[in-house]
Amino acid sequence: MRKVSVKVNGRDFEHEVEPRMLLVHYLREVVNLTGTMVGCNTSNCGACTVLLDGESVKSCTMFAVQADGSEIVTVQGIAENGNWHPMQTAFHENHGLQCGYCTPGMIMASISLLKENPDPTEDEIREGLEGNYCRCTGYENIIKSVQQAAGQTS
C-alpha cells in the first residue's frame, strides 16, 4: 500500500491505496466522486477525463499514486456556489448530451480546450475533442456547446 495525498474539488484527501489502483477507481470508489466515468479502459473514449493541476488527463490510464501531491478537478467540482460552469450551461442549452455518460469527460476536455485556446475555430474544437467519444449526438451540438462557452454564439 502507498500513501496518496490529493486535493480533489477543493478538498484534501489522504488514503493508503494499492500502487496499481487507477486514478479513476480512486476517485469513484475511495473518494466516492462517481461523476467521473469509465468507458473504455484504453484511454480512447475520454469519459474519465479530469483536470490534474489544470491539465486534462484520462484518469483510467493513470495510477492514483501518480497523482500524489496534485490538485484534481472533476465535473463535480466546476460549479461555484451552486452556479453551473458556463460549459455545463452550454451543454444543456445546446442539447450537447443525450445519454450523458460521456458528458462529464466531454465537459472537462472542453474546459481544458478553451483554457489552451480561448477562441478556437470549429476545426480546432473538433481536433481538440478527438480523444472524447460520444455515441449519441453525432458531435454537432457538442461543438455548438463549446462555441457558446467560448462566447462565439449567444
Binding site: V38, N44, W84, N132, Y139, E140
Partner: protein, 790 residues
C-alpha cells in the same frame, strides 16, 4: 399556482434530464455500493471453439479475498431454463441450448466459462488467472457460406447443421416480373459486422430481498420489463418477486435490448451466497460478450423496364446469428424483410433468409435492426439501375415512388405503409443542397482531373417502427406483446406523476412525456414528474427499442392524461353546478362557456378529487388513470438524404463534406430532441459506411478487440448536418406521431456509399463495400483502373 400555461408539445423545452447529467450526479449502475457487496469476474474462452476437458477453480478459491468460484456444472441445477430466445421465427427453427456458463464446450471467443466472486473487482479479476482450464480446440467456422457447406465443421454438433432457419416471403408474380424485364441487375452487398459501443459498458448489481425471498436486479438495460420476464423464466423466481431496475443508462443502440448471462449469473449467485453481487463489464469484454450488429450477405436482383420502371425484386439473405440465439437474434433480418421494397411501387417481391450459426459473438438488434440493411440494399441497387440506364438517380427514384398517400397502403413487402410523400421530401432536400450547383462543381472537378473528386449520394427511404400491434407481432412468432402502458396521477396539489413503461437511455422521455401530459392537463412540464425504468414503480411496460417509445408509449401517456382530464371535467362541472357539455378547458382552467368568470382551475379540481368531498355522488375520489395502448399498425417515418463527399483519389480518403436530410416523423413533440436523434442516427450510419468493422482472424479471434483497434468516429471524422422536416401525420395513432430514433441510421449508409461510388464513377468504379476505408477505396480505384472487377 401556475396560470394559463402555453402549449408545450412542439416546443423546444430544454431537457429536464440534463441537470443531473452535466453535474456528474446521475445514477449509473456502476455507482451502486451496498453493504456486503461482492464483485464478480467472468472467465471467458480465449478460443472460438473448444472442448473444455478440464476445469478447476480450487486454486482461485485459495486466493486472499476470494469468496467463491463457480463453473457451469456447479450452477447447472440452479437453472430452470436455458437463456431464452424470444423470437423463434419459424416453427422448425434450430435453437441451441445456451447456458449462462458453458458446460463442456465454448462456442465463441468470449463465451463465459467460470466466475469468481471476491471482495473487490481487482481481486476478482486477479483470481481468474488461477482457474485451470484445459481446452481442446475444435475446428471453427466463421464464414456463413462455408458454414452451409455439407462437410462444414458444426458450431453445435448435436444440431447436425449450422442452419438455424429458413424464412421465405413471396408476393406477386416474381418469375413473371423477371421474364418481362428488359434489364436485370444483380448485386451482392456485404453488411459488415458492427460493435454497438454504447459508451456505458453493461453493469449489474443483484441482491436477495430478505422480506419475500425475491430478488432485485439493477442493470444497465433498455428493457427492465423484458429482463424481469426472462429472469423469472431462467431462475424460477416468480415474477411478482422479481424487481428489475434500469437506473440512468448510458446509451444502448440495441445492445442493451437483451437478456445476458451476467444478469442471470449475478442473480443466482446473490441468492446462493445471500449477499449483493456486482459485475461491471470492461470494454474488451463488451466487444466479446455484448451482442454485435448486422453481419449479413445480401444477394439482390432487380427486374426493370428499359424506361427504369421497377418490376420486381428478389433477395437472398444470409444472416449470421453468431454462436447462440440471443433475445431476438433470428428476428432481426426478418424485421428487415418487409422493407426491401423501400419507397418504390412495384408488383413482385421475394426474399429468402437463412439464419446461420458461426463461432462468433451472437448478433442481435443494433440501431435500425434489419431495416438499415434493407434500405441499403434497395437504395444501392436503384442507383445501380440508374447507372445502367444512364439516368439521374433523382429521375429513377421519381419514376418509381408511390403517389403520396396518407391512409394505409399495401406494399410488395406484404405490409401496409401508413403514409408516404417522397416527392415532397426529395424536392425539399434538392433545394436545400443546391443539387444543380453540386453537379456543376462535380463536372468542373471531373473536367479538371482534380485528384479530389466530388460525389453526391442519395437515399430515399422509409422504415417500419413503433413496434406494436400485439396481434401482428404474435403472428410473426415474436415472444412479447407490443402495447405500452401509462398511469397518470394528479395529486391534491395539482402536481402530476406520469408512470411510463418505456425505458429511456438518452432519448429524453422525461422531458417529452412531461410536455404531453402538461398539455393534456393544463399544467407546466415542471409540474410533471416522470417515473420509469423500475418494475416496482412502473410495473407494466415493454420498454424502449425499435423507435416505439413515442408512437406507442408517448401515445399511452397522452391517452391516460386525457382520461384524467375527462374525470377532472366531471368534477369541475359538479363544482360549478354546470353541465359538463357547457365547460371549456383552456390554460388549466375550466370555465362555463359564455361566462368566463365562472371557473375553477385544474388545481382546484385536483384538491376536490383528493378531498373526496366536493365531487359527484358515486364518483371515486382521486384523479388517476391507466391506459394500455396497442396501436392498429406500425408507423413509417420517411425521408430523403443527400450526402456530399470529397474522395481523394490518390490516398483513398473520403471526407463527408455536407449531409442534407429531410425527414418526416409526423408531428414533433420536442424539435431539439428530434434533431439530436437524427444527428446521432446519421453519425452511426456514416460510421458503418466509412469507418467501423468487427474483424476476426481465421481462428475466430476478434482482432478489433478494443477501442484501439475498432474505428469509432470522433468529432474530426463527422460533418455538420443540415436538417429539415416535413410533417405528414400518421393515421396509426391519435397523435399522428412516428418514431425517429433509428431513421438517421437507416437512411444514411446508402447515401454515403452512393456518394463514394458517384465520386469514383469517372474512374470506372461501380461498387464498393462498407466500410469504405481509405485502403479499400484506393484498392477499388486500382482494380477499376486495371480493368478488374471493382
Amino acid at each position: 399556482m401556475t396560470e394559463a400555461p402555453e402549449r408545450y408539445v412542439g416546443g423546444g423545452v430544454p431537457r429536464k434530464e440534463d441537470p443531473a447529467l452535466v453535474t456528474g450526479r446521475a445514477n449509473w449502475t456502476d455507482n451502486i455500493k451496498l453493504p456486503g457487496m461482492l464483485h464478480m469476474s467472468v472467465l471467458r474462452s480465449p478460443f472460438a471453439h473448444a472442448k473444455i476437458t478440464h476445469l478447476d477453480v480450487s486454486d482461485a478459491l485459495e486466493q486472499p479475498g476470494v469468496v467463491a468460484a463457480f463453473t457451469g456444472n456447479d450452477l447447472a441445477e440452479l437453472w430452470k431454463a436455458p437463456m431464452p430466445c424470444a423470437w423463434p421465427v419459424t416453427e422448425d427453427i434450430k435453437m441451441p441450448d445456451h447456458w449462462p456458463l458453458a458446460k463442456d464446450e465454448a462456442n465463441f471467443m468470449g463465451d463465459a466459462v467460470a466466475v469468481v466472486i471476491a471482495s473487490d473487482r481487482y481481486t476478482a479479476q486477479d483470481a481468474l488467472e488461477f482457474i485451470v482450464v484445459d481446452y481442446e480446440p475444435l475446428e471453427v467456422v466463421l464464414n456463413m457460406e462455408d458454414a452451409l457447406k455439407e462437410d462444414a465443421p458444426l458450431v453445435h454438433e448435436d444440431m447436425g447443421t449450422n442452419q438455424s432457419y429458413v424464412w421465405p416471403l413471396e408476393t406477386g408474380d416474381i418469375e413473371g416480373a423477371f421474364e418481362q424485364a428488359d434489364v436485370v441487375i444483380k448485386e451482392r452487398y456485404i453488411q459488415q459486422r458492427l460493435i454497438p459501443n454504447a459508451i456505458e459498458p453493461r453493469a449489474v448489481v443483484a441482491y436477495q430481498e430478505p422480506a419475500n425471498d425475491g430478488v432485485t436486479l439493477y442493470t444497465a438495460t433498455q428493457v427492465p420489463h423484458l429482463v424481469r420476464m426472462m429472469l423469472s423464466l431462467v431462475t424460477g423466481v416468480p415474477d411478482q418477486k422479481v424487481r428489475v431496475v434500469a437506473p440512468d443508462v448510458g446509451g444502448g443502440f440495441g445492445s442493451k435490448l437483451n437478456f445476458y448471462v451476467e444478469e442471470a449469473l449475478a442473480t443466482v449467485i446473490a441468492r446462493k451466497l445471500g449477499t449483493p453481487i456486482k459485475w461491471v463489464e470492461d470494454r474488451s469484454e463488451n466487444y466479446q460478450a455484448t451482442i454485435h450488429g448486422r453481419d449479413q450477405i445480401q444477394d439482390i436482383e432487380l427486374a426493370a423496364t428499359s424506361e427504369g420502371k421497377i418490376l420486381g425484386l428478389r433477395v437472398k439473405l444470409l444472416a449470421d446469428m453468431g454462436a447462440y440465439l440471443q433475445l431476438v437474434t433470428p428476428g432481426i433480418p426478418v424485421l428487415g424483410a418487409f422493407m426491401y421494397p423501400g419507397v418504390y411501387q412495384f408488383g413482385a417481391y421475394s426474399i429468402e433468409i437463412k439464419g446461420v450459426f458461426t463461432n462468433k459473438t451472437p448478433t442481435d438488434a443494433y440501431r435500425g435492426a434489419g431495416r438499415p440493411e434493407a434500405a441499403y440494399a434497395i437504395e444501392r441497387i436503384v442507383d445501380a439501375l440508374a447507372r445502367r440506364l444512364d439516368m439521374d438517380p433523382v429521375e429513377i427514384r421519381r419514376k418509381n415512388f408511390y403517389e403520396p398517400f396518407d391512409e394505409p397502403t399495401a406494399t410488395p413487402g406484404g405490409i401496409q405503409y401508413d403514409s408516404l410523400n417522397l416527392p415532397m421530401v426529395l424536392d425539399r432536400v434538392l433545394e436545400m443542397s443546391d443539387y444543380e450547383g453540386l453537379r456543376e462543381e462535380q463536372k468542373r472537378r471531373r473536367d479538371d482531373n482534380d485528384p479530389v473528386q466530388l460525389g453526391i449520394g442519395f437515399s430515399t427511404y422509409t422504415e417500419i417502427c413503433g413496434l406494436a400491434p400485439s396481434q401482428v407481432l404474435a403472428s410473426l412468432r415474436y415472444g412479447a406483446p407490443g402495447w405500452e402502458s401509462s398511469t397518470v396521477r394528479m395529486f391534491g396539489s395539482g402536481k402530476v406523476e406520469v408512470v411510463t413503461g418505456t425505458t429511456p437511455h438518452g432519448q429524453g422521455h422525461v422531458t417529452s412525456w412531461s410536455q404531453i401530459a402538461a398539455d393534456a392537463l393544463g399544467v407546466t412540464p415542471d409540474d410533471v414528474e416522470v417515473i420509469h425504468g423500475d418494475t416496482a414503480t412502473s410495473p407494466h411496460g415493454l420498454d424502449t427499442y425499435g423507435s416505439r417509445s413515442l408512437p406507442v408509449g408517448g401515445v399511452a401517456v397522452h391517452l391516460a392524461a386525457n382520461k384524467v382530464a375527462d374525470k377532472a371535467k366531471k368534477i369541475a362541472a359538479h363544482m360549478l353546478e354546470a353541465s359538463e357539455d357547457d365547460l371549456e378547458f383552456e390554460g388549466g382552467k375550466f370555465s362555463v362557456a359564455g361566462s368566463p368568470d365562472q371557473s375553477v382551475t385544474i388545481q382546484d379540481v385536483a384538491g376536490a378529487a383528493f378531498g373526496g368531498v366536493n365531487i359527484p355522488e358515486d364518483m371515486e375520489p382521486g384523479l388517476t388513470a391507466d391506459y394500455f395502448y396497442d396501436p392498429p399498425n406500425f408507423v413509417f417515418p420517411f425521408g430523403a438524404h443527400i450526402c456530399v463527399v470529397e474522395v481523394d483519389t490518390e490516398t483513398g480518403k473520403t471526407r463527408v463534406r455536407d449531409y442534407f436530410a429531410v425527414d418526416d416523423c409526423g408531428p414533433v413533440i420536442n424539435p431539439i430532441i428530434v434533431d439530436g436523434q437524427v444527428h446521432g442516427g446519421i453519425a452511426q450510419g456514416i460510421a458503418q459506411a466509412l469507418y467501423e468493422e468487427a474483424v476476426y482472424d481465421e481462428d475466430g479471434m476478434l482482432i478489433t478487440g478494443s477501442m484501439v483497434d475498432y474505428m469509432i468516429p470522433g468529432a474530426p471524422e463527422l460533418p455538420n448536418y443540415t436538417l429539415d422536416r416535413t410533417v405528414t401525420p400518421s393515421p396509426t395513432n391519435p397523435m399522428g406521431v412516428k418514431g425517429i430514433g433509428e431513421a438517421g441510421t437507416i437512411g444514411s449508409p446508402p447515401a454515403v456509399i452512393n456518394a463514394v461510388i458517384d465520386a469514383l464513377e469517372p474512374l470506372g468504379v461501380t461498387s464498393i463495400d462498407m466500410p469504405a476505408s481509405p485502403m479499400r477505396v484506393w484498392e477499388t480505384i486500382q482494380a477499376a483502373q486495371n480493368g478488374g472487377d471493382a
